[in-house]
């Protein structure tokens, strides 16, 4: 059994406020074609396929079954789906490759936030007895976390604004990003968070190809080897957690080997500026680390795909030679309840 598994290709849509002119499969399919074309693989060559998406976002049960039309699952394919961000689909595919039952995997994720009101939709993730009946929206919960950070002296509003500004400035070199360049910090949406502290709402899709061992070297000039990957979840209730910290991120990073050697790049899935503060602390990232060169989730946040995009962006920098050792992070749930960390490396140059 080989333990060398790499991301060998990454593709994503241009992320837009709405893609209502396209169905989910119409939005997704060009990304699948792109990522397969990068490797020369056809659907029938791929050993395992795994995807992440959410029925609640789509407003329809079994929504993922129609997305499968874009894959061309004929003859039948070995395939699975998680009702999670695509980063966890990548994790499932990674375990599949570790078993040796497949040596390549296609992982994709998509989310269209435009059909519904995503702030309201996400309230349905919360404790259905005590919390969901109050409809506390995702911005409100992030704002509670931000205030806790300010109270603890971990950040202040100018520092949060600087995170927003840096992210959107970096996004100017990312043609897929939805929010780029100079974006006003704006009014309070839910104080202390201003509109500039919050992610854009939009539609998008992403896909990566994983390959094991020599197969990875055949498919990619400089594979992004997964040196470690792990994910952890915390208690659900906000009132039992220390919102200024992310022990699940720290533990996942430890298990993924992130602290063994410094990384040069980190792609963090921090939809809110304040969450970058929490993640930097948990991951012990100092100013020597290039954080979110893509602009991160503050520049484009297609829900269910944004975590997978962090994996893809980090890998793409290794592919291009812009990074030798990168950390990629994905999150799920209210106030960073669940976190995944991967450490990617390129071969020495």
């Amino acid at each position: 059994m080989t333990c060398d598994i790499a991301l060998v290709a990454f593709a994503q849509t241009d992320h837009r406020r709405t893609s209502e002119d396209l169905s989910e499969v119409e939005m997704l399919m060009p990304v699948l074609h792109d990522v397969l074309a990068q490797t020369g693989l056809k659907t029938a060559d791929v050993g395992f396929t795994c995807s992440g998406s959410s029925d609640y976002l789509a407003g329809r049960a079994f929504s993922f079954t129609l997305a499968l039309d874009g894959v061309g699952a004929w003859p039948p394919i070995s395939e699975s789906h998680v009702e999670m961000d695509g980063a966890w689909a990548l994790y499932e595919a990674w375990t599949k490759l570790l078993t040796g039952e497949a040596d390549t995997a296609l992982v994709y994720a998509y989310g269209k936030s435009s059909p519904g009101s995503v702030r309201d939709v996400l309230t349905r993730q919360l404790d259905p007895y005590y919390v969901a009946p109050l409809w506390p929206d995702s911005v409100a919960l992030a704002a509670l976390q931000a205030q806790a950070l300010i109270d603890a002296g971990d950040t202040d509003e100018p520092a949060l604004a600087a995170v927003a500004s840096r992210s959107r400035t970096d996004a100017t070199s990312n043609s897929h990003a939805q929010l780029r360049g100079s974006v006003p910090q704006g009014d309070y949406l839910v104080r202390p968070l201003r509109t500039g502290d919050c992610p854009p709402i939009g539609d998008g899709a992403a896909a990566v190809v994983l390959a094991a061992g020599e197969r990875a070297r055949e498919l990619c000039a400089r594979p992004a080897w997964i040196r470690g990957i792990d994910h952890r979840i915390e208690a659900h209730g906000l009132g039992v957690r220390d919102l200024t910290d992310s022990p699940s991120t720290r533990l996942a990073a430890e298990k993924a080997g992130a602290f063994e050697r410094p990384v040069d790049t980190a792609e963090l899935h921090a939809p809110f500026t304040s969450q970058e503060v929490v993640l930097r602390k948990a991951l012990r990232l100092d100013d020597s680390v290039r954080v979110n060169p893509s602009g991160g989730a503050l520049a484009a946040n297609p829900i269910m795909a944004a975590g997978l995009i962090r994996m893809g962006e980090a890998a793409a920098r290794i592919h291009r030679g812009d990074s030798d050792r990168a950390l990629a992070h994905a999150t799920s749930g209210p106030c960073l309840q669940q976190n995944l960390v991967a450490v990617l490396e390129g071969d020495p140059r």
Binding site: S54, F62, I77, E79, S80, I233, S332
Partner: protein, 387 residues
């Protein structure tokens, strides 16, 4: 280095009923998980990761409910995955958990699947109105009944076969304390006299709607060596998918089902399933699917599946017992139904199936499917570890 062998050392189910009004969603899931841990004589601290599955979130109206269930499943500080592959999800969830052990990522994994259908209404969840689309004209049974007619036309099966399956499964359920339907006064005449809902499917040939959960503890070789009771060993497992609707689809005997079974048999070294496999827990939500799957899974030649059913081969004391537990026809918490098949297969090879035990069962197949007969997951478990 080959894969780590995977063993089932703990199994737990709730008593499946139409509505569990005494527990929360967490309470339902926890009950099955606690029983699985108890069976394995392990504690929450012994579990390295949790893999949970269920069908659409709209059934309970909780988006990604694993987030809320983390505390109840002892997952805090651990990895937790949530699988959703439509009706096959219970089986797929177990296979994702098994891969974590096979890949040596974790030593011991808890896997759980559930549905608490009484929180809403299954038909509501399954048929949310979609603008511009023609409403489904016939309900769930109406979706499958035309395929049953196509099977009858193709094979010349007599129209009594469906009621034989229902009569068998409902009698088997009487021997399973966890089954939902316990129809003590069931007779073949009653099945055959039940109303024809979606001709050719009768009321008694359809599955109920249940609240229920199922859980298993999966572990590696060293975990199995410490197990208090005989483990079930996974000899093969696979998933296959094909599109929902496509030109040339064989809805009676989908290619994905055939390919999935072939993959499992290859892994397990099964040359002749009819000879080498002792019993089957298959996903039969409408009775006619038993003969259809018997052919799809290679237990009978094409067109011959109904003959096995008609001649009693699939009875509990037959040569190839099918759905000893009473099957989906007696118990259907949708998201859990696939895992119940997998778990019941494991109970058989562990010799722990109680009154519905097949004497000497050594290799048993667990089978699940979902969507428009498009997603398949299966595993073969044995009483002896793989070679």
């Amino acid at each position: 280095m080959s894969k780590e062998p995977v063993a089932v050392v703990g199994i737990g189910q709730t008593k499946h009923v139409a509505a569990r009004r005494d527990v929360s969603i967490a309470g339902l899931v926890r009950e099955a998980a606690g029983r699985a841990l108890g069976d394995a004589e392990l504690t929450w601290a012994d579990i390295d990761a949790v893999v949970i599955g269920k069908a659409p979130d709209f059934f309970e109206g909780v988006m990604m409910p694993e987030l809320y269930l983390a505390d109840a499943l002892g997952a805090v500080g651990k990895p937790m995955l949530r699988v959703h592959t439509a009706g096959s999800v219970g089986g797929s969830t177990a296979l994702v958990a098994a891969n974590l052990v096979a890949a040596r990522v974790h030593g011991t994994v808890l896997t759980v699947a559930f549905e608490k259908q009484s929180e809403s209404n299954a038909m509501w969840g399954l048929s949310l109105p979609i603008p511009f689309q023609q409403p489904l004209l016939a309900g769930a049974g109406g979706f499958f009944a035309p395929h049953v007619r196509a099977y009858m036309r193709r094979t010349g099966a007599p129209d009594t076969v469906g009621s034989l399956v229902a009569y068998k499964d409902r009698r088997n359920a009487l021997k399973n304390p966890y089954a939902h339907l316990h129809e003590h006064d069931i007779t073949l005449e009653k099945v055959q006299a039940s109303p024809m809902l979606w001709d050719p499917i009768r009321y008694s040939e359809t599955c109920p709607s249940s609240d229920g959960a199922c859980a298993m503890v999966l572990t590696d070789r060293s975990g199995a060596a410490r197990a208090p009771r005989p483990p079930a060993w996974m000899l093969g497992g696979a998933m296959r998918s094909e599109p929902t609707l496509f030109a040339g689809k064989d809805a009676v005997s989908p290619q994905a089902g055939k390919d999935c079974a072939a993959d499992v048999y290859r892994q397990a070294g099964i040359a002749d399933p009819r000879r080498d496999i002792d019993a089957v827990e298959m996903y039969v939500p409408f009775s006619w699917y038993e003969p259809m799957w018997l052919e799809n899974l290679g237990f009978a030649a094409e067109g011959e599946g109904w003959k096995l059913t008609e001649s009693g081969v699939t009875e509990l004391d037959g040569d190839l017992p099918v759905n000893m537990s009473g099957g989906v026809l007696s118990t259907n918490p949708i998201g859990a139904s696939g895992m119940i098949r997998f778990a019941e297969a494991a109970l058989q090879v562990r010799g722990q199936a109680g009154e519905h035990q097949v004497e000497g069962a050594r290799r048993v197949l667990g089978h699940a499917y979902g969507g428009g007969s498009q997603f398949f997951s299966m595993w073969l478990v044995g009483s002896e570890p793989p070679d």
